[in-house]
């Protein structure tokens, strides 16, 4: 792996190539040597755009880029002809699974049930294959034949534009906020950056920073590896990794004394109850929901109930009309008007 090491040392120095650096630091070690060599050979601009690497047994190796995906040849060139692509072998799959789990598949039974494993650096690897069911519940995934390595991006400053709207000018407190966004529009990235900034403090807005409790059910926000956040989530942030949201919120309220509780993707009945509990304890809530807009989420019973309760003060609506993470609208719920 002399090549890989060279790429790593060369690129880690330059800041603009952090993407390449991240791939060689976090992603390459979980790939079998043969695939490592192929990925390293990819042209620089392709490497920079990689959002996911897909391995499917007996099918060509595919990298997902910002706009489209690309098939990769055994020499590391991009192609569109399936026959020219590098065919992922049975051995490649087995080896990758072992490397992803640190050769400890037995330690990831819970993760397998959820369909993904989080690796060092907070990147998630999705899993497909033969599912073993026990009493109508997923027990484990055997014969893993599909893997999707999703490169987690961290965009510091993603929340700069919205934060002025989220802090109450009178009391100086953070507002109850809901981020509404369709999938893959930068919802979690924005959430993470808001958490980081309110936790560390925002001098520009004279916001001093306050304790934040994060319930990270899917290990997406903080990207914990062995319980340690791999993403910067601020200096006053406590993370419950892999914890069910409703229970996690209660756990945090009991003893961690957060001023703000953050969780990703609410939508279940018990989530609503936990949110109300947090409100009663005087804790600010920051969370997200899947949906294209205010109307769409009102069609879902639990979310409609939450909206009717008037819990949230501010709504942020994301889209990709001007690229990933476009802030389409910020709504002040109390005054019922757009702030943009």
């Amino acid at each position: 792996m002399a090549d890989g090491a060279a790429v790593q040392s060369k690129n880690c120095i330059k800041d603009r190539d952090t993407m390449v650096c991240m791939i060689s630091r976090d992603i390459l070690p979980v790939l079998p040597n043969r695939i490592r060599e192929i990925i390293v050979e990819l042209p620089g601009d392709t490497l920079n755009q990689i959002e996911e690497i897909r391995l499917r047994q007996g099918k060509p190796l595919i990298v997902g880029l910002t706009r489209e995906d690309a098939l990769v040849t055994p020499l590391g060139q991009v192609t569109t002809v399936p026959e020219f692509g590098y065919m992922v072998t049975d051995q490649d799959m087995k080896r990758t699974v072992q490397l992803i789990s640190g050769s400890s598949i037995y330690a990831f039974e819970e993760e397998l049930k959820n369909g993904f494993i989080t690796i060092r650096g907070g990147h998630r690897v999705g899993i497909a294959g033969k599912v073993v069911v026990d009493r109508a519940k997923v027990k484990t995934v055997k014969y893993i034949t599909g893997l999707n390595i999703r490169v987690a991006r961290e965009v510091t400053g993603a929340a700069d534009r919205v934060l002025p709207y989220l802090i109450d000018p009178v009391s100086g407190e953070f507002c109850h906020t809901l981020i509404i966004s369709p999938p893959r529009c930068g919802k979690t990235t924005l959430l993470r950056d808001i958490i980081r900034q309110v936790s560390t403090g925002i001098p520009k807005l004279e916001f001093g920073g306050c304790p934040v409790g994060v319930v990270d059910e899917r290990s997406e926000i903080a990207g914990c590896y062995h319980g340690i956040p791999q993403k910067d989530v601020g200096i006053r942030t406590d993370v419950l990794d892999g914890c069910p949201k409703a229970e996690g919120m209660m756990m945090l309220i009991r003893a961690m004394g957060p001023r703000i509780i953050a969780a990703d993707e609410i939508g279940r009945q018990e989530d609503a109850a936990a949110l109300e509990e947090a409100l009663n304890a005087g804790i600010k809530v920051l969370t997200t929901a899947h949906g294209a807009g205010r109307e769409e989420i009102s069609q879902r019973p639990v979310l409609r109930y939450i909206m009717e309760q008037g819990i949230f003060e501010k709504l942020i609506i994301l889209g990709r009309s001007r690229g990933v993470g476009t802030i389409e609208d910020i709504i002040d719920c109390r005054a019922d008007k757009s702030l943009l």
Binding site: P32, R36, Q98, G102, S103, S104, I105, Y106, A107, E109
Partner: protein, 172 residues
């Protein structure tokens, strides 16, 4: 005077050779028992702690006899290198280094080699099965080695001393 001294040296040397040979025979059952203990520690780490393998191996290495700790610590080191090796391969590499300086017989190493194939590659239940199989085989081998040691070790010890005496008598 010199004759007596020479006789003592000869006797001592022969006895030492005998005891060394006996020692080799006694080492094998001891190391097998240590190995069994090591695998039991590994079982605890895997089944009850669900500890990731590199850490589990280090734990075992820290807690088992130094005579066999090398096998576990070496596996952990190979895995920590992140060079794309699987647990089975790391175990094999460690085993290759370990086999040079151990008193274990080829058939004992074979048990360990077979065990390595499944190491870390499956869920808890499956790991438990493989560990159980390896453990019972190690136990059997230990019992067999123990019996062989009892027989052979005594023979070699006596052989050393008596051989020495014989040599002294002849040369005196």
């Amino acid at each position: 005077m010199i004759k007596i001294l020479g006789a003592c040296v000869t006797l001592g040397a022969c006895a030492t050779i005998g005891f060394t040979w006996a020692g080799v025979y006694e080492k094998r059952p001891r190391q097998l028992i240590y190995l069994g203990q090591g695998l039991q520690l590994l079982e605890t780490e895997i089944l009850y702690g669900a500890t990731p393998l590199p850490e589990a191996m280090e734990q075992v290495a820290a807690n088992c006899s130094p005579e066999i700790a090398g096998l576990f610590s070496c596996t952990a080191a190979e895995l920590r290198k992140m060079e794309g090796v699987t647990a089975g391969e790391a175990w094999d590499r460690a085993l290759a280094k370990f086999s040079v300086k151990t008193a274990l017989a080829q058939k004992d190493l074979q048990i360990l080699r077979r065990f390595g194939v499944s190491l870390g590659a499956s869920d808890r239940e499956d790991q438990a099965k493989h560990l159980k199989v390896a453990l019972s085989q190690i136990k059997l081998a230990a019992a067999e080695a123990e019996a062989a040691a009892k027989k052979n070790a005594t023979v070699y010890k006596y052989l050393g001393i008596l051989g020495g005496l014989l040599l002294v008598l002849i040369l005196y």
